[in-house]
Amino acid sequence: MVEAVTVAPKTAEHYDVLVVGAGIAGMEASLTLGDMGMKVLLVEKSPTIGGRLLLLSKVFPTLDCASCISGTKTSGTSHHPNVTMMTYSEVSEIRRNDKDGSFSLRYVEKPRYIDTALCTGCGECEKACPIILPKETEYGLRGRKAIYIPFDTAVPKKAVLDLDNCIFCGACERVCPADSIDFLQAPREHEAEVGAVILATGFEPFPIEKKESYHYGQFPNVVTSLQMDRLTGPTRPFNSILRPSDGKEPSNIAYALCAGSRDKTVGNLRCSQVCCMYSMKQAQLILGTLPAADVTLYYMDIRAYGKGFEEFYQQTKAMGVKFVRGRVAQVEEEKNGDLTVYHEDTEGPGGKGKSTHDLLVLSVGLLPMRGIEKVFKNATLELDEMGWVKLRDETRSPSETSIDGVFSAGTASGPKDVPDSIAEAASAAAQAVGYVLSWREKTGAAVGIPLPKSMPVPMPQAVEVAAK
């Protein structure tokens, strides 16, 4: 990789709040802050905003299409007058200024090797590029080129060049009608001053290769739930659900729940909180596409705890999805690519069972996205034993982290579904504004945006607050 090149510091940028990560939580926090009149710097390390949610098919429990939910947010974020969106950029350093509670930061805009002011997102470069690689946003189910637009509904819809895999053939440069390709682009470092920080850095799917007895990566018809979400999505790679080994439409699909969760053997005792629900959602979507298919869920407890979730579970059962209580222990591959699953069956005779399916979906859990703790240079961002951002005072002010003025939103502090992530993001926004204003009042610093001053109103009668 190319080393960061410091561009001669321009005037440092000033914002009220820095939001790190532009998934659903980061977008929600930015939009809420922007609507309150706060100036926001939103830094996203991937080339597009929208995060994991944008890649899902539909979302439980109401089965809204994920694009319909996040489309409004991506579009709103990119057009908000108070939100400055920096994609393909990474925060490299944050220092807290104890004098006034503010933060000084540096972030690096990685080179796309594309002049985004010129690129129209036409996709001609993609067609010309001879290099084919697995597409990250499709979890390898489709290919992409070395120069590519991440996906059709990408925001911003700009190409990005993967220099590590480029052979410098020049094909893209020759076809680009906007002349936007620039092989000489260098990383650009920015400096900024902000009043508060919101971490919305999200999660990573559990690397299920670690659970060796499931043979993910070895048996082609063992797929992850993230891949299945793509297979059932509106922008799905094939126009149906096909199993990888031979492209056959599966008719007997199994789900192994708690893959990489509630499992001491892989080092994650916790429940990942969303897998039961998304597995049932996928089961419903599968029955929409393949009405004759058998779908079996191997589970330990069905954790349908949120608003409308239990009702969704009952509906899934009523649709004919089979629930077997017991964990999958071992998977074997048959000659035809089918999979024999050895599992507990705590409610069946003998307590165990063996069944053959033509596709096995692993409902993978969530792990923290690590790295953000390293950018804090003069304060410690505490993490819990799994690496999730630790909440300092969760029964009083649950968005606060160990650093004053740094707040957590969405799955940065633990697995969470979309409604909970959204609530937490708005909460972080409220707390960040309170923090910024309290410091401004303390230091008398000029308020960038006109906000009302404290305005106690005389009450008609003496009313006092007193604790016993």
């Binding site: 979302v59 991506t74 925001v155 407890d301 608003k307 307590g351 409604p419 707390q431 404290s454 607050v465």
Partner: protein
């Protein structure tokens, strides 16, 4: 003041140049509706359609940009989108039109998903036909649409929070920290709601009252918050930015401080079970509320008081039996409703409740733990050596399973109870290590890191026995001992009998009966009985009344951390109103053509909001006049007007007639 700008009828209009954009909704629509055909048909049959396209996602940024480019390059002056429900994305496309320089109300959003593709998935041809006619009617609408200006309304920079549990406390605190003035109104005489009652909360083991006290002590430092306890809402009117709310402060009959409160309470001869302790202790008719109270005074329960005068003799003028309720009218920009939940109360005989003395609920048991005397756990005069927890009492009910006559079954999961029960078991194991604990459950839902509690409880000796919904446990009493008979699923539903000293029914959350508040505020209620948000993901704290927000367990069961998030989230939304000097409102209000008005007064009588009056209007004389700030645009007046003088902006009678014609419906009387 609000102002509506409308084109005058007969004013020359440029010919319509319409762009139509039919959405696939990634298959949600295009799997059943032939979107290409819809786009093609309307383009062919109507010359004013300049461009007609079908796109994967109309709402994506790329598609919006395409519309904007078309508007500018092809000089479009009207926009029709055919996609999902207008509730979801009408605002999105209005915003896109605005960015393109087009008046945002020269657009129409036809719903061909909820109204065509989804309900008619069994009939693609019919769905396509129906979608086409919806688009035709949208085209008819925009042809006669007139540009409208948003209404502007001054914003009152204060917020009312209704409900002083931890959610309301958090919301108030966040708003105050954002320099917004807050009125916090609590019906009970103390703050802290249910949390104040909890002996030990998960996951940290804090006492509930400690959590409340910490929030209250922060609130005390905020000059921007005014707290009312023992108070309730009695009237509510207005609109976002300018609600007028009347709060009634109910009398306490104790009006001043006194050093002799303790003596006076001692002297009171009336004794009743203390609700706070679920009847495990008693209180007097004059008593101190059990949580933080404002003003800091005891109160007299006049319904119980015998007027014996014992307290009055000690407290003198501090007692005033003729203290009247006091009404206070407050102006606020928005209202957050965080009125919380009720504990589910089992019906008499439900799992032995109320009939077998050794059967209690979890909230009752929480209080019992508070009163342990250190000599071991005791109940009903005997030592407790074993406890059976019965999960999902009053939750996850099957249709018809409700035990309270007339109430619907609680189909939902109450979310917090598995975690709370397992934490409770750990608490019991910590205090009384020899007590045997049995958990009879359907699914253990210790989601997230609460799983660690579950793991720990198992190690601490809790025994978990699963049953299925078709084989619920039976609680009985034999020889004075409670028995739980459960058909354990692990034994293929073989019945096993557990004699225990105490049965704890793990009761869930149910919605509060708050009829007068719900009616006063027109709060939307979902099938589970809790308040319903506009959209769980897009507008999670909003209701259909702008500026009326919901938070906490009034919306759905939540635990403490989650309800605090919810309170802060509602505060954030309220702040987006309160931090602005002026709010923009939709211009869909009624307007009057005074030349046609016959001053029948029918509209005045019909208007449910009192927005219309007959008023002197120059040469026209006394004619109907609409206060557009108060009008909600419901159209009730339009329907009763004998001369079509009153109409609704954005939906004129002619427009509606045009749309109906375009749908191909024969007009009545035509």
């Amino acid at each position: 003041m609000a102002k509506v700008v409308l084109d005058k009828p007969g004013e020359a209009k440029e010919p319509a140049r319409i762009g139509v954009y039919v959405c696939h909704c990634g298959g949600n629509i295009s799997d059943y509706v032939d979107v290409a055909k819809v786009a093609e048909t309307v383009a062919k049959e109507d010359g004013s359609v300049v461009v007609s396209k079908h796109l994967m996602f109309d709402c994506s940024d790329v598609a919006q940009q395409e519309m904007i480019d078309d508007i500018q390059k092809l000089k479009l002056n009207r926009l029709v989108t055919a996609a999902c429900s207008p509730k979801l994305h009408e605002a999105t496309f209005r915003a896109a039109a605005k960015r393109a320089g087009l008046n945002q109300y020269l657009t129409y959003h036809a719903n061909i998903r909820e109204q065509s593709s989804w309900p008619h998935s069994d009939d693609p041809h019919g769905a396509t036909e129906k979608a086409t006619s919806h688009v035709r009617s949208g085209i008819a609408y925009v042809k006669s649409a007139q540009p409208l200006d948003v209404l502007r309304s001054e914003s009152t920079q204060s917020v009312m929070v209704v409900g002083g549990g931890v959610t309301g406390l958090r919301a108030a605190l966040d708003l105050a920290r954002m320099n917004v003035r807050v009125y916090l109104v609590e019906k009970a005489p103390y703050l802290g709601g249910h949390v104040a009652e909890l002996a030990s909360t998960y996951p940290l083991g804090e006492k509930g009252i400690a959590i409340v006290q910490r929030l209250v002590s922060e609130i005390q430092e905020q000059p921007n918050i005014t707290v009312f306890t023992n108070a309730e809402l009695v009237s509510f009117k207005g609109y976002v930015g300018k609600f007028s709310v009347t709060v009634r402060m109910n009398p306490r009959y104790v009006v001043d401080r006194s050093p002799r409160f303790a003596e006076a309470i001692e002297a009171c001869p009336v004794q009743v079970p203390e609700e706070f302790d679920h009847g495990l202790t008693v209180r007097k008719a004059i008593y101190w509320p059990r949580g933080p109270t404002v003003p800091h005074l005891p109160l007299i329960d006049l319904g119980l008081c015998t007027r014996c005068g014992a307290c009055e003799r000690l407290l003198g003028k501090a007692v005033r039996f003729d203290q009247p309720p006091e009404n206070l009218e407050l102006q606020v920009g928005s209202v957050i409703v965080s009125t919380g939940f009720e504990d589910y109360t089992p019906a008499l005989g439900e799992y032995g409740y109320g009939e077998i003395p050794d059967v209690v609920t979890l909230p009752e048991f929480e209080r019992m733990l508070e009163f342990g005397d250190g000599s071991g756990l005791r109940h009903n005069g005997h030592a407790v050596g074993s406890i059976a927890y019965l999960y999902c009492v009053g939750s996850r009910q099957k249709p018809g399973e409700a035990t309270t006559p007339g109430s619907p079954a609680h189909a939902y999961c109450s979310r917090f109870c598995c975690n709370a029960t397992i934490h409770n078991a750990l608490d019991v194991s910590g205090r009384y290590p020899d007590v045997r604990l049995y958990h009879f459950y359907r699914d253990i839902r210790t989601y997230g890191r609460n799983e660690l509690l579950y793991e720990k409880a198992g190690r601490a000796g809790s025994i978990f026995v699963r049953y299925t919904e078709d084989h619920p446990p039976v609680v009985s009493q034999r020889d004075g001992t409670a028995h739980v008979t459960v058909q354990a699923s692990i034994l293929q539903n073989e019945a096993v009998d557990f004699p225990v000293d105490l049965v704890v029914l793990v009761t869930g959350m149910v919605s509060r009966e708050n009829r007068s508040l719900n009616e006063m505020l027109s709060l939307p209620i979902g099938p589970d009985g809790f308040y319903r948000e506009v959209h769980q993901k897009l507008r999670p704290v909003e209701t259909n009344t702008a500026g009326l927000l919901i938070a906490g367990t009034a919306q759905a069961p939540k635990d403490i951390r989650e309800t605090l998030y919810s309170g802060s989230a509602a505060a954030a939304k309220a702040a987006t109103f309160a931090l602005k000097k002026e709010l923009e409102l939709e211009p869909f209000v009624a307007f009057v053509d005074p030349a046609r008005c016959s001053a029948s007064g029918k509209c005045v009588a019909e208007c449910p909001y009192g927005a219309i009056e007959l008023r002197e209007q120059g040469d026209f004389g006394k004619k109907a006049w609409v206060n557009s700030a108060v009008c909600k645009g419901c159209g009730a007046c339009v329907a009763v007007c004998p001369t079509e003088a009153i109409q609704r902006a954005g939906f004129s009678n002619d427009q509606i007639r045009d749309m109906i014609r375009a749908l191909g419906v024969a007009e009545e009387g035509a």
